[in-house]
Amino acid sequence: MADYAIFFDSSKCTACKGCQVACKCWNQLPSPLGLNANKPTHSYQSPLDLNGDTRIIIHFEENDNDKLWGVNWSFGRRSCMHCYDPACASVCPSGALAVDGETGFVRVSESKCIGCKYCKSACPFDVPRYHGAQSKINKCTGCLDRIANGGPVSINGGTGQTQAQFSVPACVHSCPPGALKFGPRDEMLRLAHERVAYLKAHEIDPSPHASVYGEDQLNGTHVVMVLKYPVETYGLPANPQVNPLTGLLGLMKPLTGLAAAATVAGLGISFLTGLGYKRDKMHYDEKKHEQVDLDTGEVLWRSDAVPGPAGDEDGEKDARPAKKGGK
């Protein structure tokens, strides 16, 4: 299998959010349309979190340093990490999430998604978001549609010549300082190590905490990062762990087969609910073909449901408080 990666260098990122906007434009993801409808974030970061219509955000965090002027201003990239052994795909009962053979990215087949949200619970990076109106999970697809059209090629996002426009993910294509690149993973890792060594040894402004992220975490991810400051300041877990229970669900899949996706979902929900694993308690009514929130009785998804108005209707919307001072 080919092995590609998105490279993100936090020390070159200017937090322009071009990637956020490019992702929305390419993937036709809507933004709120009402007058002053966006929730103020009280931060440079906006939106504050991923949501049903937002697959990537730039994370802003300011931390004091021992210098007289300025701060350590961490610009992080919050999006799917495209794990080597993706917990989300391993729990996905319908095959909506699966590893792409060309790149190793976790592809999304929207039509197969049954909205069970297992992936959301399983993700060690808290990435997939549920789009209530569409009853689908939404997360970064790696822009496999672009890559497939152009063929995966290495891009030098810094000073390189214009590449085939559709050969790299939209976020990578948009990045002015070349903080994002796309290419063979071993090449991206080589760049990352080179950069970290450079940052640590920098004559004027050394970064003792600089590290490569995504090489060893979870046996590796297809997003490789250079982090200038400590990992935690980028909104990332220092030591991401897959919930061991996801393995149990994975065992069930071959027993039931993927064809009967709805049944699997039903079984899976009972199974996980019984173990107290899911945060959202849901029930799948096989007769009505409805998925129901057991606490509220709300019908979350119906097989023939017409998607509602655009918007992020994740049950955990705005779970994180607005940022406090200096963030």
């Binding site: 906006s46 300011e62 000073t159 300082p177 001072g325 200096g326």
Partner: protein, 832 residues
Amino acid sequence: MTGHWNDFKNADVLITCGSNNVENHPESARWVQAARDKGAISIVVDPRYTRTAAVADVYCPLRPGTDIAFWGGMINYIIQHDMWQKEYVITYTNATYLIDPAYEFNVETGMFTGWDEEHQKYVTTSWGYQTAETVAPNTGAGGAFAYALRPGTPAFTPPDKLVPKRDMTLQDPQCSFNVFKRHYERYDLETVCKVCGMDSQTLEQVYRLYGQSGARDKVGAILYALGQTQHHYGSQNTRIMTLVQLLLGNVGVPGGSVNALRGEPNVQGATDMAMLVYDFPGYLKWPTAASHATLREWLEHETYSDGYYTNKPKFFISALKEWYGEHATVENDYGYDWLPKIGSLDFTTMSTFEHMDSGLIKAYFLWGMNPANSTANTKFARQAMSKLEWLVVVDWVETESACFWKAPDLNPAEIQTEVYYLPAALIYEKMGSIVNSGRWLQWRYKAVEPADLAKPDYEICDLLWKEIVRLYSTEGGRCPEAILNVKWDYHRDGVIDPRCVAMALNGYKWDNAGSWETRELLSTFGDLGADGTTACATWIYSGFYANGSARFDPSQQKVGGRSLEDKTGLGLYPGWAYAWPLNRRILYNRASADAAGKPWNPERAVVEWTGSEWATNDVPDFAFQSRAADGTVSWIPPNDRAFMMTWEQNARFVCSTMKDMPLPEHYEPFESPADNLLNGRQNSPCIMFADHPSVKRSDPAEYPIAVTTYSVVEMWQTGAQTRGCPALVESRPEQFIEMSVELAEEKNISNGDTVRVWNNRGDVKLTAFVTRRIKPLKVNGELCHVVGMIHHWGWAGSFSTGDTVNDLAPNVGDPNSFIPEFKAFLVNVEKA
């Protein structure tokens, strides 16, 4: 810019001061980063720690409005530590020229010699040179002014050259360099820190790192934008950066220069095309009644005695020929008298609103401009606009100006102004050329049809013009020939066509019977004449659209070039777009080599004297060949004339061409929390409009907080376009004021609180971002709070609205550029 954005990659050290370049010019990040990848050092000097500072190596704060103190200190430091580039300075600048013995700067009064109290302006003769000899203009064969005798050339007397006295040893105290050096001796580290508010260790680190670019083989780039220009001494801010670059030998060298970062609003195009009151296209002067009542006066007043501007009449007469075509003849001074002359009243932006307020201006055309939300003291501007009889707004969207009567502080019932809104096509909906900061002209093609009734600007202009002509021809009027004699033939198949305009801008041989199908296009402005044989609307663009064999195919013109070939690796890309003038990628490139013509650094070779000829990687920006009467071409060996656009052909330290100062001197902003520590005068004596009653100066006792305003990457200007893009609004949903933790504690303000910010001119509410990226500064021993506000919001638009921050900015400005002082004034802040 004298180079280009991608030229930043050639720098050894870059300093951003007065710009937040990675945010407001995102592409600049690519090239600064490319330089850093090769080991370059980047420095950011800014009142707050910006996203640009976050990706720089060194950050140094300074109080808004104290840039001249900062740069003056750098000049002093570089000279004191002997870091300046001596061969460059002595060879290519006026360092060795002797300044008038009467020249003086009085530190007690803060005044230079020459102040005319009655007219409240400087008479600048004492800022000039001592004359060694007077040389008469050469009108003989091969002489610079031989053309003046050609038939068809209007009669004028070319100027004598006053050859300055020089002392090549720099011993004479009146040497321009010595005057310059003495001037900045007061700007020591301690004083600069007291004025600007940073600590001396950080300041010295910045001076030392940047000063290292004074080494012969090193080069440094200065990046600046509106943070330098929007002050009542903004022109001097830009000039002092030039002085630093000259001192270090960084002008004309790849990776050097004083880089004016222009953006989407297309300041470059606006200045090329003279969208400014006092300018004529191609950086010529618009005639004034006082200095240029006749064509002869214009020619005698504007033509230089030496250097390339000895040719200025050729450019101006060729432009008049384009304006008036067959009606322009030598007998009628090529129609010069039909050009309106600027009188004693000022009509720059800030004055415009005074004239509206007084009732002098009754009607107003706004073309791609939104002053009800963008000008300084917008509250006053809106009130003045409400006195208009009618207003026309041409724009993409309904801007605040297009619905100014809906402003929260105006009552529509009391406003009688009739407003016409003309929807303009987006840039993607029309063809034409654009020009960017690096002077690169590029042809863009129409991608989609304009929406609904929207039309390209040139089409709106054409319809308007035809109707004006119809009215003048049927109804007459005052001086109708000024309208009726204009050549307006930019049509193809009856439709206005930018390709015809491009040919007019490019220039061609005049032929009364000619048409756009047949006119002989010129490949260089060197072929222009002052005798009516050529027509050219904007001489600097000559050559960009000169392929007559495919005259309606822009892709076959140099402006349509898309070649990615870059033989030098310096990023010159001669086949990509067209860099005016003459496809020259680096201006003043003679200065990239030493006195003998050897590049300062062989890795940055642009031109090189091989001993017998010039080897060139770029179009030379100096006289490198001469042509004898018999047509023989010979090479001109290296000389010191590296700056051929000045009459000296050298760059200037002390200069007498600015209105306010011969050398930049620190004055405080019009509204400042501090007294001027460097001289006895608080503001520049040449500040504009400070006496207008609408200005309502804010007293520091009442308004102690220094404020600066700026943009963020997610938004453009007044936000008229960007607040119409939901994805951008989502990424920056609210307007904010940034303040220090210390000030927030003092005022009991928490992050996210709505705060009221006000002064004598206005009162706005916005969200507080409390941050350690801004810190209080110690100014002359006292704590000085600084806050910063973004200014992209207004009442118009469907997705995001907010208060107009520019209500607070003072409508005072610079005497050279008439720019307002947006970047430093006073406010107070409280929790709303």
